[in-house]
Symmetry: C2
Amino acid sequence: MQTKNHITDTICALATPSGIGAIAVIRLSGPEAITICNSCFFGKDLTQVDTHTIHFGTVRDGDRIVDEVLVSVFRDKKSFTGENAVEISTHGSPYIQQQVLQLLLKNGAKSAGQGEFTLRAFLNGKLDLSQAEAVADVIASNSEASLQLAMQQMRGGFSSEIQKLREELIHFASLIELELDFGEEDVEFANRDDLKQLVVKLQTKLIHLINSFNLGNVIKNGVPVAIVGEPNVGKSTLLNALLNEERAIVSDIAGTTRDTIEDEIVISGISFRFIDTAGLRDTKDAIESMGIKKSFEKIDEASVVLLLVDASTISENQLMADVKNIEDRIEGKNKRLVVIANKVDKANQAVISDKFNRVKHVLFVSAKDKLNIEAIKEQLFNYVNSGALNQNDVIVTNARHYEALTQANEFLTKVLDGLDINITGDFLAMDIRQSLHYLGLITGDISTDDLLDNIFSKFCIGK
Amino acid sequence: MQTKNHITDTICALATPSGIGAIAVIRLSGPEAITICNSCFFGKDLTQVDTHTIHFGTVRDGDRIVDEVLVSVFRDKKSFTGENAVEISTHGSPYIQQQVLQLLLKNGAKSAGQGEFTLRAFLNGKLDLSQAEAVADVIASNSEASLQLAMQQMRGGFSSEIQKLREELIHFASLIELELDFGEEDVEFANRDDLKQLVVKLQTKLIHLINSFNLGNVIKNGVPVAIVGEPNVGKSTLLNALLNEERAIVSDIAGTTRDTIEDEIVISGISFRFIDTAGLRDTKDAIESMGIKKSFEKIDEASVVLLLVDASTISENQLMADVKNIEDRIEGKNKRLVVIANKVDKANQAVISDKFNRVKHVLFVSAKDKLNIEAIKEQLFNYVNSGALNQNDVIVTNARHYEALTQANEFLTKVLDGLDINITGDFLAMDIRQSLHYLGLITGDISTDDLLDNIFSKFCIGK
């Protein structure tokens, strides 16, 4: 891993998905990006053109014309990476892509590693680390909610919050460290009450961010939903009713493929994943060897549990036992149970009402007739919506950030404990510095090669 | 299908391969391309910027930020399509691609049909029809030879040849039609001897082009090669020796996938396809129920036939019988037979030489020991190379062009026949006009909606 001061090489990679398309884009970045491209480009002298301009010409290997291309030139600080950059738009043949890349390598470029363009943007100060990380999330986003979270983070929403907290804390750390310079003199530049107040304020914010992670994570990866119930209650019919309706509303624009994940539905921009449902639909409600108690594994993984029962046959005792079993299991775990009373078409209305009288959150549906399926979707959406999503809050979606925030918070607790027992300034300063360290890891004010390697190795090549 | 005078709408499509990548490019073309893009782009007023410039900003749907993008603006005659065009470079998430496309549709663009961008380039006079057709060939090219043929055609090599022939002929047609105006006066503006000379010259060129089609077609699609032979002569071992070596030299550049076709090798930029070889490798030389005579189907499809024999066991009589069988079958068909004497390691050198004494084109190899495999590749390459490829000739690769050239040529023959029997000018003019018609179909000087529909429906969307 190289650092800002050592970027002397120029990298290249295919930036568009591999395969055949109308066009493909090959990216170059580095001090020699323009000159390397210029050495195999005919049509104009690219070293003389303005930044952010486009030029038509041919890529040639000696006399051999490899392709007719458009070349976009970006200079220095004005490019995404903060260094000279070129994008070559070729015809979308994999053969041509390979030929152009080989030519660039021959002319002195090197193949880019995963995320190396974004890494350079970070090293050159165009993005902080959490913004750089969000670039990968933007690309991976597959629902409106996950896109908006990633976009907010990429545009700096999350970092600026952290940055502000960190600066206030640095101020106190400096004051306390100043006290240490005076050694035995027992001066107090940093008012301990003010410090305590700040730390409490910081902790409130940190804990808020930490708590948002669970929600942020499900939004990013899809809210896990489990459908549990006895055999023959209609689990597969319900699942199909939920999924098929969704499939029908996925719009088809020619030329794009919506990455549809089997067993995922998107409701108002939030995606919900049905856990372990493959078997559900394959078996077509065949007698399963496991009852509700055996479904605990699925329940543990889920954020929302749909308990599906046959409203026409279940006894009130059985119903209440099932509900209690699940409620016991999910207690205190921020999960939600919704009881779905299926097959209402088969049973007497009054009898059913009576049976389900004592159950909270019950929906009466007929999966077969697609009756009231919309209400289930509303319940799913409400689970997320009643969280922090709509309050325009900053939400943590990244496990690394969650980890760093948790660590920072722990050291703040130590600071508070220290203040309570009038610990000496040097120990206070040490805990504050630790806390600052972890906050700095998020924005990249503090970074190590290992950390950067780890982060950018999750990127695709060309980004 | 619309014509030049009726392009009032603006089309949009994804131009890069679908799927996840670092970036994706969405294309707009049409009179409103810039204004439609501008209506959802924030960062700069795109209606005020110069052609061939790039602008950073956000795509927004109302207040909602869909993505941070780079927008390339191309004005009027200076774009690929010859009309206002915009390329939006987004983050490479399929979700974002879909959102941006939906937004453009909402703002008045329509989804582009297959090849509609290139069709517009043709209708707006940026490309002639054969050049437009070559765009699809450039994208589909998967070897150096197929790329060079397509590139030559796209850059106008083929059309300019046709165009020149056509103009000379038009000159004569006009003179003859002028004669007709003078009715009974029996004038001859068009010298019949000069016309005859021109037609003969034209036919020579046309026949040359027509004859190049067979070669052009195999270069474009890969030269079909058949390996035939008795069971247990080592067909699968030979095929693997040929293919494996190739696999090893295919260079791997991270981020690109070379579209490897099973059972295809590329030698000096020309691809060779082994016909019907799947079974060969699956059966691992298992006893096959069919002998050489049953291989005629494969031989009929192939341009090169490799007759593989076991040099250590075959009798001279059997060998000569097999060779004669195949030679009879391929006679006059521009195919080549190469006899491969396999398992030379197992037999006495002198005995073998003796046996194969009367066979032309024989190669002594050991497929097992990978001995002399290179010589087989040389033979394959020579088959193509001894054709027109290296003579810098214009080569016809397109079946539609082949058809039109053949028709044009037939009518020229009628013209010659007419001249021989001193046919009247009106009949001569008719045959010349027919010939001109077919030549015009190639360049698109003459085109119909059906023809254009048919051509561009083979393109991908976004091109």
